[in-house]
Every structure is written in structure tokens, then in C-alpha cells.
């Protein structure tokens, strides 16, 4: 038994960890050790990838490429391949993953199981929109090949299905042509939510990537920095070298508190505001700003942290976001890492995929037990009222009724669950 935490470091529970190392012995290995749950890089914040007291099938050694068609950009790989490794391998050959989230240190299997999205959601949708095939291993040994045009119901259940329909062994992904690793970017300060929505709407047609950092300390009107980018061809520019720093230890208390937060946010906002001119950026700092700061999750101290990410429909979104920002500012909680983004007007593939048309807000909160729970209860009420939902990849605590209200396709999903798989999250939200 070994102690395993998820990214939020809220718990340190004992797990029986089995490493899957090759594809062909996996069915026997899984059948013999079930019930369990697949676990990749452990970047889910909450309890989606935890199974305390039970078994985890670690997939990070299943990290081989299987086939590549350089003419069509179709790449097949094992489930544990990191998005970073695909980018590094394929970028020089003129291909890129169409959709990646804010970190590339996640596995392909995890990206599918959480149907992750990125800054270009309004153009290219979610990760699952670019998966052509996946191989799903059920704990009874059955292997199911599925895709958008092959057993599409299995595919829709597995994409975004947080690992509960079986173990994803491998996948074929449609990559996208790219001229090079550079992006033309702009940063625009906004002083109110109205300005944010204005920027977002104006940018949607002409900009492939849009996202905004929001200062959660200033109250319901918000202020922040709207960032947008487009791929651009740049000749002969040296790529930045890989440099990473680690958070070497867990500080005895959270470094994020109401004083450090106000100070940092004000400094960051004013500094960036002045440097708002358009500039050429490498894709790595633009897409994955935190990847070079290894184990940054430790800065919240020994009690860990929550990430609260919700999406609310556009019609109710303006009021809902205002109300949430007001509550957060009054609480004095929140963090530097706060993101506000509009989603495109499209439905995701997966039955339990998170994105829906509207606007999404994501914020980290140091874990302060009751105090944090009370704030979340207020935010939950706003999300419920607005007809929104909370992202399963981030969640560690939403009440079951909010889950059921937010994910109307739940009953359609349940028959596809694998009885030999269960997680802390599935027991909390689905009862088994």
C-alpha cells in the first residue's frame, strides 16, 4: 500500500498501486486485481482519480507510440503518453495537438477521460472532438474499440467518462497542421465584466486562443487581463530552453493568504497592463504557463487546496459571475490562479463532458475546512440557480444534487459503467 494524493493534495490515502507496463498483459493484470481505477499523472484536483483503500492501475509506463501517418496526421499511442511528448515529437514535423489544457503534463488517457478543453474551445472544441478511435479494456477482459463512427454510444460514454467505463489502453488522435511553435499574442486589460464579455465576443471570430486572468480580490465587477493569440509563422527564431524549477518542499502553511493575494494580484495586474503591446510568444509559456514550476501545488501548504471551476450559460452568466465574484471578494479567499473564459457555442462529445455554451470561472482556494465549505455552498447556490455545472476533473466536494442537476445525461451514462471500476468520486456522486 502506498499513499497517493491528487493534485489538490487534500488527502493522502493508501492505495494498492499496480503498474500497467505493456498492452497485451493488461487484460489479465486488470482482471486479477479488479476492482480498481486507472490513474495517470494524478493531475485531477479532487477525487476523480483516487480510490482510497483500493487499487489503482497506474498507466504512466504505457507510454509508447503505436503508429503515425505523417500525411494525414493520425497518431496512435498508448494511454500513458504525455501530451508534452506528443508536442515535442510532432511540432518539428509540422503537427500539433489541436486541443490541450493549461498543462501538458497529463496523459492521453486522462485527457480523454476528462474530455479536457483549452483556450481555443470556441474554435476546436474539446480533446475528445479529435479522438478518432480508442481501445477500452473492461475489467472482465473484454476489449471495446470505439470512435465517433464505431460504437458511438460507447465512445460518448468514455470521452469525459472519468475512467468509469473501463481502462483506456490506447487512442488514435487527429493532429492538426501548424507552421511552427510561435503565436502572435495580445494582452488587454479590462476593468469590468462588461468589458470582458465585450473583448471575448469581439475576439471570438478572429482569434483562435482566448483566455483571461481575473483579479478575484476587487469585487463583483472584476478586473483582469484578457489574453488572445493566433499561430504565426516566424523564421529563424531560437526556441526557449527548457528550464524548470521545483517547489522543493511543502511549506508549513499556505503561502496564499489574503495579504499575499491582494499584493500579488495588484502588482501582476498593473505590471502586465503596462506591457500590453502585442508580442510573439512560444507556445509553451502561452499554453502551459505553470509547467516549468514543478509541484506548484505545494505552495498551498499541508492542507492542500480546492479548485472551483464552473460553467454557467451565457443568458444567466453575467449576473451569476458577478454574484460569485462578489461572494469571493467578501470572503477574502481565492488565489492568483483565477481564470475566466467564454466557451464556444457547441456541444461536447461526451455524456459527462464539462464544457457547455456559456462562460467558465476557475479559481483555487486554500483548504480552510468549514470556512471554505461555507463559501462553496454560496457559490453552488449561484451555479444551481444559473443552470450551470461544476467540472469533475477539479471537483472534490460538490453535493450530489448539484451533480445530477448539472449533468442531465447522467442516466444515459450509467449503463456503460464498468462494475469493476469505482473511484472516490463515483461513490460520492453516483453511490457506487
Amino acid at each position: 500500500m502506498v499513499a497517493v494524493s491528487s493534485w489538490g493534495r487534500l488527502s493522502q490515502s493508501e492505495h494498492q498501486v499496480h503498474f500497467l507496463t505493456h498492452r497485451h498483459p493488461a487484460p489479465v493484470q486488470i482482471r486479477e486485481t479488479a476492482p480498481g481505477l486507472a490513474h495517470g499523472m494524478g493531475r485531477s484536483y479532487g477525487d476523480a482519480a483516487l480510490n482510497p483503500g483500493g487499487c489503482l492501475w497506474n498507466t504512466t509506463s504505457l507510454d509508447r507510440f503505436i503508429s503515425l501517418d505523417e500525411r494525414t496526421g493520425q497518431l496512435a499511442c498508448e494511454t500513458g503518453v504525455l501530451l508534452r511528448d506528443i508536442q515535442r515529437l510532432m511540432m518539428p514535423r509540422g503537427w500539433i495537438l489541436p486541443v490541450t489544457p493549461g498543462t501538458q503534463l497529463i496523459t492521453v488517457g486522462g485527457a480523454i477521460a476528462n474530455d479536457v478543453h483549452g483556450k481555443n474551445h470556441h474554435v476546436l472544441g474539446c480533446f475528445g472532438d479529435h479522438v478518432l478511435r480508442l481501445t477500452l479494456l473492461r475489467t472482465d477482459g473484454e476489449i471495446i474499440e470505439c470512435g465517433p463512427d464505431l460504437l458511438p454510444d460507447w465512445f460518448a460514454a468514455t470521452v469525459g467518462g472519468i475512467g468509469l467505463t473501463g481502462v483506456i489502453l490506447s487512442a488514435t488522435i487527429q493532429l492538426r497542421r501548424i507552421a511552427g511553435p510561435w503565436l502572435n499574442t495580445e494582452t488587454i486589460a479590462y476593468a469590468s465584466l462588461d468589458q470582458f464579455f465585450q473583448q471575448a465576443d469581439d475576439s471570438e471570430a478572429d482569434w483562435e486562443h482566448t483566455v483571461s486572468w481575473i483579479d478575484c480580490c476587487v469585487g463583483s465587477q472584476g478586473r483582469g487581463l484578457f489574453m488572445r493569440g493566433n499561430p504565426v509563422e516566424v523564421e529563424n527564431r531560437a526556441e526557449p530552453r527548457d528550464r524548470s524549477f521545483g517547489m522543493p518542499f511543502v511549506p508549513p502553511f499556505s503561502l496564499v493568504n489574503r495579504w499575499s493575494l491582494r499584493l500579488f494580484n495588484a502588482a501582476y495586474f498593473n505590471l502586465k497592463k503596462r506591457k500590453a503591446a502585442p508580442r510573439i510568444m512560444h507556445y509553451q509559456p502561452f499554453f502551459y504557463p505553470l509547467d516549468n514550476l514543478l509541484e506548484w501545488n505545494r505552495m498551498y501548504g499541508p492542507k492542500g487546496f480546492f479548485q472551483y471551476q464552473c460553467v454557467v450559460p451565457r443568458e444567466t452568466g453575467d449576473d451569476a459571475i458577478q454574484a460569485m465574484l462578489g461572494d469571493i471578494a467578501r470572503s477574502g479567499e481565492g488565489s492568483f490562479l483565477a481564470v475566466l473564459k467564454t466557451f464556444g457555442n457547441r456541444q461536447p462529445v461526451g455524456m459527462l463532458s464539462f464544457p457547455q455554451p456559456g462562460v467558465t470561472l476557475a479559481l483555487d482556494f486554500s483548504n480552510k475546512a468549514m470556512q471554505t465549505a461555507q463559501l462553496f455552498a454560496r457559490l453552488d447556490a449561484i451555479v444551481r440557480e444559473a443552470g450551470g455545472r461544476i467540472y469533475l476533473a477539479k471537483d472534490a466536494r460538490m453535493p450530489r444534487d448539484l451533480f445530477e442537476a448539472g449533468y442531465p445525461r447522467l442516466n444515459e451514462f450509467l449503463p456503460y459503467r464498468d462494475r469493476g471500476i469505482s473511484s472516490a468520486m463515483s461513490r460520492r456522486l453516483m453511490g457506487f
Binding site: V2, A3, V4, S5, V17, F19, T21, H22, R23, H24, G42, S61, R64, F65, I66, S67, L68, E70, L89
Partner: protein
Amino acid sequence: MLIQKKRIVIIGATSAIAEHCARLWVNQSPADLVLVGRDTAKIEQVAADLLIRSPESAVQSHRLDFTDPVQIRRLADEIADYGAIDIVLIAHGSLPDQAACQQDLAACREALTLNGISPVLFAEAFAGHMQKANTGALIIIGSVAGDRGRKSNYVYGSAKGLVTRYAQGLQHRLADSNVKVVLIKPGPTDTPMTRHLKQQGDNGLASVEKVAKSIVKGASRGQLVVYAPVKWAWIMMVVRHLPYFLFKRLNV
């Protein structure tokens, strides 16, 4: 101009460390690889992966009984017939259950054969060819476990100790040649072989990528002994010199 590709032979090519070394080598420049393993399906998967990482490389795979001197000799001769070899990496092994080795002499013999005798047979089969060609690096993976016997894994440790003495002798024999013999001593590494030791996060187990990096670096420098990661050189210096009256109290 056609650049001659490096010829690299990897014994135990499906081990996690060997696989990561191979990835590093083909990332440096396209190579001519010979992968030798015990499980055909696994070798084929590793080969396919390496060819995608480096389409200009060439990969041959061989399945072999790791304890059969006749097969080992034949393989080495065949490979050497094609021309000089730049790198031979001998990486196979398995961490036996010490308690089982104490109970079951067959298990004990198997552990000694696979981790001690077999690597020596492979090294010996290639050493002659490399000496004749007067070039190349012969890299053998030993272990810090071979530095001092201890109760929790001395069967494995003694096999690796054998490899250590063998490598010393071979280095002596080839001292005047251009052939480099490099003995790698990985500390406990996060591989499938050691997975039951694994704690998540900061657990003292080195990542397999890190170990692979120090192997590739040590090989290119031709160091005699490479501890991977380097901190194990210091740890093992202390362990080797610890007086017995203290050592015997350690529960290691």
C-alpha cells in the same frame, strides 16, 4: 554526405531503463538498433515506438534465451559480422524476492543466473569483437546492491557483485584499447522491477528518465563507474566503509 548511423545493441531492451536509453540515443541522432529481449510482442512494441520517434533509425529485434551460451555467442557473432558496434548496453535483470531465494534454491539459482552469469556471458561474447574492432562502448548495468551484501537482498546483491568484479577485470583487459567498459550502478529506480517499493512523490526512487540520462552521459564520456543518480556514489561510499558492528544493526 551520408553520415554513418551509430550501431547500438541493447540486451534486455524491454526493461524500462533500456527503453529510455534507446529513446535518448535515437533523439540524439538516427541509429541502427538491435533490440534483444525475451518477449517478442514487447520488443515489437518498443521497436515501433522508437521508429516513430526516429523514422530514420533502423530497428532489428531478436528473441533469445538469456542463459544459453550457444545462442548468445551466435547472436554476438552475427551482429559483429555486419561491422563495428558503437554501443552495447546490457540491461536485463529482475529483482528477486530475497525470502523466496532463501526458501527455494531453484529461485536462488535463477536469480543468480539471470542477474549475474547472463550479463557476463553477453559482455564476454561482445568484448572479443569489440577488442578486435578496437572501438565502441560496452555498458553493463550493475547495481548499488553489488557494493555490499545486506540481508534484505543479498542474493541479488551477490549477482551484481559478480558483475562488478567482472567489469573491473574487463576494464583492465581492455585498458590499452579504445574500447570503453562502463559499469552503471543505479540506485533504486522507479521501474516496474521496483514498483512495490514505490511511494508517490518524493520517495528516494530516481525517475527512470534521470537514470537513463546519466547512463547515456556516462557512456559518452567513457567513465569506468557511473552511479545513477550521482548521489549514490556518496551514499555507497559510506555504506561500504561502515564498520560491521554498526552495519549489523541496520535494518537494510
